[in-house]
């Protein structure tokens, strides 16, 4: 039993009419829109065009690993891991001896976790480039195989 007072959805955007003859003549339909340069607004939210990971300072979080252009990720991750274990042990000790002073230790542990996550996030652009390299390599491989197949 359909409700008589149901809300109606907005109609689909009218662009579909432009693609009426797409199968017979693909050039009669409009080209896809070009990529946008600079800041834009989407669903009421402002976005900037660049993909930059915000630094920890922009979130008011102290950065524990050394700054610089080339960070040795493996070493820093391992160091921070050791620090984390040490702080957890210290928290256990503090809870036994001076339980009212837990807050500082918990803050330190939170800080270490934030730094660790930020380091892992900064590895993502590297991963994106590695994925691109892998895709290019497999594309070259496929093209070479196709050439071999045609030659035979």
């Amino acid at each position: 039993m359909a409700m008589a007072t149901s809300s109606s959805y907005p109609p689909p955007p009218p662009f579909y009419r432009l693609y009426k003859n797409f199968e017979q003549d693909p050039s009669s339909a409009p080209e896809p829109p070009p990529p946008i340069d600079g800041p834009f607004k989407a669903l009421g939210v402002d976005y900037t065009g660049d993909v930059v990971i915000p630094s920890l300072e922009s979130h008011n979080v102290r950065q524990l690993y050394p700054k610089g252009p080339n960070i040795d990720f493996k070493k820093e991750l391992r160091t921070l891991n050791r620090e984390l274990q040490l702080h957890i042990l210290e928290l256990a000790d503090i809870l036994v001896e001076r339980p009212s002073q837990y807050a500082r230790r918990v803050e330190d542990i939170t800080l270490i976790f934030k730094n660790l996550h930020h380091l892992l996030n900064s590895l993502r652009p590297h991963q994106a480039r590695a994925t691109l390299i892998h895709m290019l390599e497999s594309q070259i491989q496929h093209r070479k195989e196709a050439i071999e197949d045609i030659k035979q």
Binding site: A92, H126, K144
Partner: protein
Amino acid sequence: MDIITQLQDQLDEMAMLAVNTFGTLQRDVPTDRLSNSYSDPLNSNPKPEDDSKPQVQGQPGAPPPPPPTAQVQAQAQPPAYNLSEQPKAMSHALVLAAKKFDALVAALPLSSEEDQVKRIQELQAENEVVGLELQKQLEAAERELKQVEVLFNEATDNCINFKKLD
């Protein structure tokens, strides 16, 4: 699943283990005795049948009392196994998680940004070259196909004409 996501999940798991360890300890630890003038919270049941009572008082980590009075005792007394084995098991899990994190970090295939950008440019150039060659081969193959088609049509036409003369 890619290694960075695994690392992130491992971090989350370490956080969860740490929180669970402390939470379980806080929940399960037996209450402390503030002073001798207050009753012992561990065993506030003043029944005269317990000759195992002195064993129970003041020793929260003690093994459970002998079987005959075990049932009455065990209800008033928190399970002792929690206090010695559970923290060990939980801290063991925490250390294992930390070791797994280290192993994952060691398995990270890292290289510098310049190396990656150079490699991408090399691969792009190679891709273009291979693409051009592929296109040439395709065109040659299409030409050959057209020639074969034309010859085939000629041959079939000749066959049909030959038949008609008969």
